[in-house]
Amino acid sequence: MIRRLLLLAPAILLAGCSTSLPGCGSPPDLAGTWSYTGTQTGADPASLSGTMTLGKTGTCTVSGTLSLTVNDGDGSPETTPWTISGDFLDDSIFEFDATQASTDRHHLGTFRADTIAGNWMLSGSTSGSFTIVKTGT
């Protein structure tokens, strides 16, 4: 049984490797420092704030870090580092994941004049809105 499952894992892995990269046009260069603000709705509403640093890793892709403070009003806000990985779907739609351990905050936003605004979601119905504004290069 275990041996079969061991064989199954790479099989699933290999089966998944078939797709094509989206065309992203000519996206702007997001490299630099960004200010992150947002809200969290749902059972545990909270305010989000932080600093995001992005670097360009490809024509359409960026990665970086996010220092995010979640303040749900209980008097002890939590600040944690997140890993950022994202890409442009076209020259204005920017999609990125903020990852910490096994938690992904999935963001989809629109870029306009050094500002990206949109919505984010966590699996399990926690979601909210966000705005990131470029503060430096």
């Binding site: 275990i2 499952l5 420092t33 059972a43 220092s67 806000p77 600040t79 919505n119 699996s123």
Partner: protein
Amino acid sequence: MTTSRRLLLAAALALAVTALAVAARRPHAPDRVAVTTAGARTVRSPRVRHPRTPADAFPAADTTVTVPATTFPAAPRAPRARMSASTFRRDGAAEPHSLQVISVPVPAQFGKKQVSYAVSPSGDADLLSAHSGTLPEAATVAPRATMVVTRVPVGAAAGPLEVARVEFRDDSVTTIVGVELTIARIRRIALRPIRTSNAVYPGQHARLDVVAQNLGNAPDTLRFLIDPLSGWRVEQSGSPVVLNPGEQRELHFDVRTPPPPASGFVPLVLRARADTGAVARLILPVELLPDASGEMRTHGPVVTAGIATSAGDSIGHAPVFGLAIDGPLSDKVALRGKYVGTTDRADYNVYAMGRIGYFLDGSFLTASGRGWSVTGGRTGMGFAPVFGWNAYGLGSSADLARGPWNLGLLAVQEHFGSQTGGIQAGAQVTHALPKGSVALTATHLEETIFSDHTLDAAGLSYQISPRAGLTLGADAGWRVTDATSGPAAALRLDQRTARGQFSLSAEHAAGGSGAFARATDALTFSTWRRLTEGLVLRGYGFGSGDTPGTGSTSKNRGFAVGPSVKLGSRSNVDVNLSTNQSEFSSVTGTITSTERMATLGARTSIRGVNVHGSIGGGQLQRVTDLPAGPTFDRTGGRLLMTASVDGATPYGVFSADGSYEMNDATTGQLPRLGTFTVQASRLRLFSGAHAPTLDASAWINSYAGAPTGGPAVRIGSEVQLPSQFSLMIDVERNPYLHGSGQVPWVAAVRFERSIGLPGIRKPTTQGSVFDDRNGNGLRDAGETGMAGVLVRRGEQSMLTRPDGSFKFFEPAAGNAAPNIDVGSLAIGEIAPTPMAATRNAWALPVTRTSRLLVNVNAAVDSLGRIPATTPAQVTVVVTDSTGAVWIGHPDSAGRAEFDALPAGRYKLTLDFTGSSERLRMKVDAPEIMITAGESLPPVQLPYGFRAVRVFDGGSNGPGGRRR
């Protein structure tokens, strides 16, 4: 003949010989039976104590032997006989107290001639076979042997041991053969504690005293070491100790216990290690009493004032002040609260201060008593999920309980920094039922600072446990939100047995996450079941749909399932198959994320070190559907590997873990992501009363675009200083919060002092433990208090202060009396029952005892008679002034020892009821005075016959004369 048959034959022979020996040793065995056969006599000898020299050997005791008629009763020595001696050592090892059948070869010089032999035991060995006999003339010159059966002495030392001597003799030659066995080495070490209770306050030293004794039969070289335990420091040299057979030695270990809040019983394991490994083990339980500051709290509230700041970052240099209070103000009111403020809110470093627990906007004060509590400041309350879940804010909350009724109230306002938002209010009335409860909840919750949501909800909740392990719950009510209104309902089921668990939760809340609920509809279940002793199957599933009324919707569903297989006693293999899908739609577009993974994990524990590893592979699909654009469907593979190891040492707990993730670049995830973390917690690099413990960690993340200034490092420590001062320092260098470039070391420092305030409280019980030197149970002048004695009262425990006093503030069931834990007293100290307390003030005496040795011996009277009654048949009776009696039974040498006689006056007498003779003590019953801890000379108690009454028949006057 096979080896096993030979062994069986030897064993049968040994049993037969032993049976004969036992029969011959019966007290009433026939004295002598003789049968004549073929010129020889067969003799069964009387039970006699056999001479130990071969020359005096006599056919005897234990079995039937055949000897020539001419050799009975004793074989005359041949004139001018040649004497020689040799040694025969039997191959193989013999254990002490074992029965050995030894075949002793007849010396070759006797050839095939008739040989007589006499056997005598050596030393303490018992001879169970014949003491003499004759081997007839043999037909050939074949090797001959005689059989010797012996029982090896219990205390035989390891190595060669002569157990018997066999004298072979013919007309002209006498040869004495010493019969030797090689005694096997028996290794046995006994460890026992001197005190059975070792109690100490956390962070203080404890001295553990142990006696080690060598009960084996050879000298042993040992090292005595206490197993390392995280947070504990043991001063032990580990130097080898040589113990001779029977020798015992006291060992002392100084143990530094971990600082508060450690508490409870902790078993320390002491091992005696020889060159072959551990040969003995002793568990030494150490009780960590509630910490001394906790004891301080029992007098009144403790106020802690502190100041903190951070350095190294661009902000956070302004001082931050903290003030906390915790403890009972009086017998009816306790306070708990905290205030944190700063001189410059704009210069407050939320992350740095968060690391040392100084959060702004978290100030509160709670007053509580029996059945009530009220909180002002930052407070919150949790409601049923469909009625509002969690609500927090600035305001007040209260909880009141009376009989089966409970009332919870909340009235707060949203408050973040300088922003003030909506009102959040709620009330919940609960009535306890025999097997459950019913509650009525009403809430009005507003959220206006970051988004605009309002919820008004009311409903009933019901929970019941119809039987052990089964809990059912339900909520039903109505919700009104900004966008919609509708029913609120929830069902919960939880069933637990020894073989598994099943939980199911279903919820419906109109308005969903747009109005303080988790989702509009949600279904969750989890289960595990033990199919066999080594196989557990786990499962988890969820599904939800959310329409929060904000224009966005979301759907989530997924499940995970997998077996966990136990391999041996310490290892497990876990398999996990999972899939989950999230779909989120908003004006920006629709994202659907699907992940399917298969993971294989293994975990084991080796000598206290836990090791875990897993590898998983799967597929990640991300579909993004833009409203006015194309649909992006990106699918790719994913591989995830993790490994971790952790273990405790005397210096702290260490762990390391790492993970490596590979994703198909088309999924938008990082193609490669590696993380590695090492961590050490509760490091104790120094010893001493105020030695700090350190926590340290370092981690590095590796991926394209990662900050270049890695790794991140964090070191923190809290030092308890004298006079209730404490210093906490936490330093971190974290490129993952600051990005690439220069990464600063950011230090957060907190300095506090705690002050115990006098409370308006009276102890429920108090008293002192004193050294009762005269043993009268009363505290007389000059009898001092005893410090560090463990006193218990119900579930409360404390050590007496330097003056011997103690105070218990909490009530105890039945107003239980305090008592001394005698396990905490030294050997020779006892705790007699105290006199009744006066006004609940107890004086608990501890009396040091003395050892008394009494020598009992039979004395010859004037007629030269000596009693047949041995000292072991006499009982020594020691009676104190209150009539309490101690009984002692002398050993065969007449020694009776009384190990622990309290101080007082005693009378010593002998009891002869075990004897049929008319006996009396030959001295007047002595009286002795024992002073606490004093050593006394042995007391001699001779006994003899009572005087014989002789009547002369009245020849010397009426009534006769008695003498």
